[in-house]
Amino acid sequence: MKARALAGLVAPAMFGLSVLIAWEAVVRGLGVPKIILPAPSAILARLVGSVPTLAVDFAQTIQAVLAGYVIGCASGLIVAILVDRTPFLQRGLLPLGNFVSALPMVGVAPIMVMWFGFDWQSKAAVVVIMTFFPMLVNAVAGLASAGSMERDLMKTYGASYGQTLTKLRLPAALPFIFNALKINSTLAMIGAIVAEFFGTPVVGMGFRINTEVGRMNIDMVWATIVVAAVTGSLFYGVVALIERQVTFWHASYRQRPA
């Protein structure tokens, strides 16, 4: 098992490393100008050299991401429970939710900037709107996923609605909820960064990307993207790790017979 897990890490690591080496070689060998594509080593140097700036940008953006993510996911879950309780809303609101979740939600960014000002609150609002619908749609599907046998069992126990919800249906919905949490972790990063394109105080990762592109400091742009990528991957990884701990019983995590 351990050897297989190690092999699962080594193969992608080798691939990634060879891409980086090829990138460095192409940039150096062909003498690609820095404004088109800086070499990985140049990006790393820039990253190390401008840690203070990047840290301030990171702090600005991450608070919008986290605040929006928590509010969006929590309200999506609450509305999903309400929708689940009322069949009318299920038939009336759910088709709308499905429709809305396919819409270009980033478009609300300028409106939110107008309503909530230039600071991080408007970015958090964009993140709330972007994360709400995936959570709603997934959680409703998850709440419906408990089998009728189990539900009947709860009924024979004389369990109340609340008991059935907390002991059976919410745990059964967890894989779906975590699916939404994972989707939302990347959406939240995207939402906050794109919202910053539409106006922000002079700090933030989206702001940095947009201005440094204008000043042709492409290595700084890449450095910011590296920070964003690492943050996004870590965010996703943490959610996936919690999922593994909480839904260890799910079929996809049970060890396959050899």
Binding site: A11, P12, L96, V106, M114, V194, I218, I225, A229, S233
Partner: protein, 300 residues
């Protein structure tokens, strides 16, 4: 009318009715919200104009027809949509048709590039065992990166090579749309039963034959599901790319211009136009899906 017909109609109404009621309720809520959010602004206007003696109806009517409201009322957005879609010459830069056609062009080109790339990658991943282990984690990781953040840079870089116009934006649309296709198609191409794959082997079918006669047809439902996600993602990519390079027009440029000049009605109209484009494209794929499903016999 036969009984089945009548009950089918009844079911239809039962399906549509709740949606209609919810939409009506949302529109009503919207009006209340508009009254609430614009109240202060309108109050200031009246105060500045020295107008102190007005009825509530007068105030509300003024509030719902402001030039630059905080939250425009639905009828204002509809009027703007109608005005900028039908009344302005489509070749004018003030026409929504002009901007929407640019966005649609980029979306469709990007979607075509992205979904072909996705299908190609999925085919490779399914057939080359080593690639599955080494490439797939990176394809997944590429999506935890805010790809949209690359948009301004890709536009600038491609500019250096004199690639301008719709192509740079299509590239970003393609970037966003390739992932759902890859993941969906890997799943789809792997969906045939091991028994069926074994059967192909007993026929001594070549890899190409079992691909075209078994794997590809079996992946059809997955294909359409991922196409729907991909086309919506492509539109988002196109709109965001337009924001970063707004001089070429497009719905994203329209959004940005609206936010520069505080033209809220224009922003909302552009947003609704983008939503309509997205819904239209997804709906179109849904139709093709249903027709294919009926012909191939996997319809539910």
């Amino acid at each position: 009318m036969s009984i089945e017909r009548a009950s089918a109609l009844r079911r239809r109404i039962m399906n549509v009715l709740p949606v209609t009621i919810v939409v009506t309720a949302l529109v009503a809520l919207w009006y209340v919200g508009a009254l609430w959010m614009n109240a202060q602004l309108q109050g200031d206007f009246f105060a500045n104009a020295g107008k102190t003696n007005y009825s509530f109806a007068e105030f509300a009517a003024a509030e719902l027809n402001m030039d630059r409201p905080k939250l425009p009322a639905p009828h204002q957005i509809l009027a703007e949509l109608e005005h900028s879609t039908f009344e302005i010459d489509p070749s004018s830069k003030r026409s929504l048709v002009y901007h929407a056609s640019i966005t649609l062009e980029e979306t469709i080109l990007g979607f075509a590039i992205g979904s072909s790339l996705g299908i190609l990658l999925a085919t490779l991943v399914v057939h080359l065992a080593g690639l599955d282990k080494s490439l797939m984690p990176w394809i997944v990781a590429s999506q935890t990166i805010p790809i949209i953040a690359l948009a301004p840079m890709i536009v600038v870089i491609l500019n250096q090579f004199d690639i301008t116009g719709i192509l740079p934006k299509a590239v970003i649309a393609a970037y966003l749309s390739f992932f759902p296709v890859t993941v969906g198609m890997v799943k789809g191409l792997r969906s045939p039963d091991p028994l069926q794959l074994d059967l192909m082997r007993t026929y001594s079918a070549t890899r190409a034959q079992s691909f075209f006669k078994l794997r590809a047809p079996a992946s059809a439902p997955f294909f359409f599901a991922s196409m729907k996600v991909a086309v919506a993602a492509a539109l988002v990519g196109a709109v965001v790319a337009e924001v970063t390079k707004s001089e070429d027009g497009g719905l994203g440029a329209r959004l940005l211009a609206g936010s520069y000049y505080g033209q809220t009605v224009q922003i909302w109209a552009a947003l609704f136009a983008a939503a309509a484009c997205s819904a239209g494209l997804v709906g179109l794929i849904g139709l093709i899906d249903r027709a294919t499903a009926r012909r191939m016999g996997y319809a539910r």
